[in-house]
């Protein structure tokens, strides 16, 4: 029985009474157990009507998220903001880095300590690897890592896993091909860990110069991973359940010549998908440049736009989890008695 709107706050408090300790911060996928991951995906599933605007559930009313993006972002920043507002919370943004105190030489530590006093939770992206851990060690409130240099991007991983489970009904036992920039690509660093832990086989397809870092390969093998490494995308297509394309990130290369040697090396067109399994899905964290041709969009395999939408629902679930707020069953679309009131 869903309570009337005026009873929401009392009801949310009652649901959360006696819950376990929240996850402190989400910096890498090591901060979540397999059970945590599946619980977040289940919470996200329940929140789908709220993310679509078909139901209103103000679980985060009175809560404030600090969106600290020291590096450009469209999807991640906007989906954090959408997630917060769909659940009745609010957001403050760092804004343009060039007009902040950072240009005056303020340390990351001081910036975080200051914002820490303003908000209940922080989502951040930073060009330096390790910045999210550094922020977490500086702050009292939970930190959600929205990407730290070429390090990790665990919130992207949750939405990727959600998309995979949505398409295949399961994650365990799938063969996932990670393609492109595996060296600098933080999305694949986090995703590979989670996939292996959840029982997937990996095919890593990249140019030799953009192979997955050795410490990550070591970690994956220590987890018992079955890994095939290849430079040929065509070989990976027939056996893949998921092809996860990534952009060769020009901004991560130390020089233009090195980038030009590998730019455009993997391009996936609809015709290339002829030998693929019927249920195989093509994913991409976006933005894409030329690694997926527009004609793939119309195939049954394309999932990257649904994937981007899933960023909202999984981030809703993650914010609730880090703030130790239980996600209840959500009424079916159209049955909510609340007509609005989002802050």
């Amino acid at each position: 029985m869903v309570p009337a709107p005026r009873q929401w706050l009392w009801w949310v408090a009652a649901v959360n009474w006696g819950r376990g300790v929240a996850v402190a911060s989400l910096i890498t996928m090591d901060d979540l157990s397999n059970e945590d991951i599946l619980a977040v995906l289940d919470d996200a599933e329940r929140l789908l009507p709220v993310a679509r605007g078909q139901a209103y559930l103000p679980l985060l009313q009175g809560k404030l998220l600090g969106n600290l993006f020291f590096e450009p972002s469209t999807r991640t920043r906007m989906s954090f903001e959408t997630a917060m507002k769909r659940l009745g919370g609010d957001v403050i943004n760092l804004g343009d880095v060039s007009s902040s105190s950072l240009v005056k030489g303020e340390t990351l530590y001081d910036t975080i300590r200051m914002v820490d006093g303003y908000v209940d939770i922080i989502a951040m992206r930073h060009p330096r690897q390790g910045a999210a851990q550094y922020a977490s060690d500086s702050a009292e409130v939970p930190i959600l890592n929205g990407g730290d240099g070429a390090g990790h991007h665990p919130t992207q991983t949750l939405l990727d896993l959600f998309t995979i489970r949505q398409a295949h009904g399961t994650i365990e036992g799938l063969n996932v091909a990670l393609v492109g920039d595996l060296r600098f690509g933080r999305t694949v660093h986090s995703l590979s860990h989670a996939l292996v832990r959840l029982g997937c086989s990996l095919t890593l397809v990249s140019p030799d110069s953009l192979r997955m870092p050795s410490e990550i390969i070591d970690d994956l093998q220590a987890l018992g991973a079955t890994i095939i490494q290849s430079e040929d995308l065509a070989v990976a297509i027939p056996s893949a359940d998921v092809i996860y394309m990534t952009r060769i990130q020009k901004e991560r290369f130390p020089d233009e010549d090195e980038y030009q040697r590998v730019a455009g090396v993997f391009k996936l067109a609809a015709a290339d998908l002829a030998p693929a399994k019927g249920g195989m899905i093509v994913m991409h964290p976006l933005p894409r440049v030329d690694e997926i041709a527009p004609d793939v969009d119309a195939t049954v395999h394309a999932r990257y736009f649904e994937q981007a939408f899933n960023g909202v629902v999984t981030r809703m679930a993650l914010i609730c989890r880090l703030l130790d707020i239980a996600v209840p069953a959500v009424p079916d679309a159209g049955t909510s008695t609340d007509s609005g009131g989002e802050s």
């Binding site: 890498t28 030489g105 340390t107 990351l108 530590y109 930073h126 060009p127 330096r128 690897q129 390790g130 910045a131 851990q133 550094y134 060690d137 500086s138 730290d148 240099g149 070429a150 390090g151 990790h152 870092p213 050795s214 410490e215």
Partner: protein, 158 residues
């Protein structure tokens, strides 16, 4: 007795520090990390590739008129975690020090990855390296998680 023969290769010192059981070939690195260079007025003795029962081959360093500190021992742990250190006074062993490499190496060396967040100018949190493996020694940065380049870590000592 190979160890006695080894010790006889270099003369006894009056006062100072003897560092034994340094991995073969690492004595010069040890001197560099302790800041011992050609500018010293007192003798420094170095023996490399000395036969050792325990290690096969080892290096030995004797530094006269200097007793190494705890912070020196912390640095030494990164290159010679099995080293035995003796403080010598009046030709006798006055103290034996143990090199103990804990799980966390705090404010001994900075991360060798140039784009690590810990390198930000005036950032106040301590530099932290975490022991990931001991034989061979593998360290990872607490912040960025990158495996440390053990060949260049001497250049990053604090």
């Amino acid at each position: 007795m190979p160890s006695e023969m080894s010790m006889r290769r270099v003369t006894a010192i009056n006062n100072g520090t003897v560092i034994d059981h340094i991995p073969a070939g690492c004595a010069i690195t040890v001197l560099k990390m302790l800041g011992v260079d050609g500018g010293r007025a007192t003798p420094v003795t170095l023996a490399m590739n000395v036969p050792s029962e325990k290690m096969g081959l080892k290096d030995i360093v004797k530094i006269e008129d200097r007793e190494i500190s705890q912070s020196d021992l912390d640095k030494l742990a990164l290159v010679a975690p099995e080293a035995s250190v003796s403080i010598i006074r009046a030709y006798s062993v006055a103290e034996k020090l143990q090199v103990n490499l804990g799980e966390d190496v705090v404010n001994v060396a900075a991360c060798t990855f140039a784009n690590c967040a810990s390198h930000g100018p005036r950032e106040p949190l301590p530099h932290r390296l975490v022991v990931h493996g001991r034989d061979p020694l593998q360290l990872r940065c607490h912040y960025c998680g990158r495996e440390q380049d053990m060949d260049s870590i001497v250049d990053n000592l604090l």
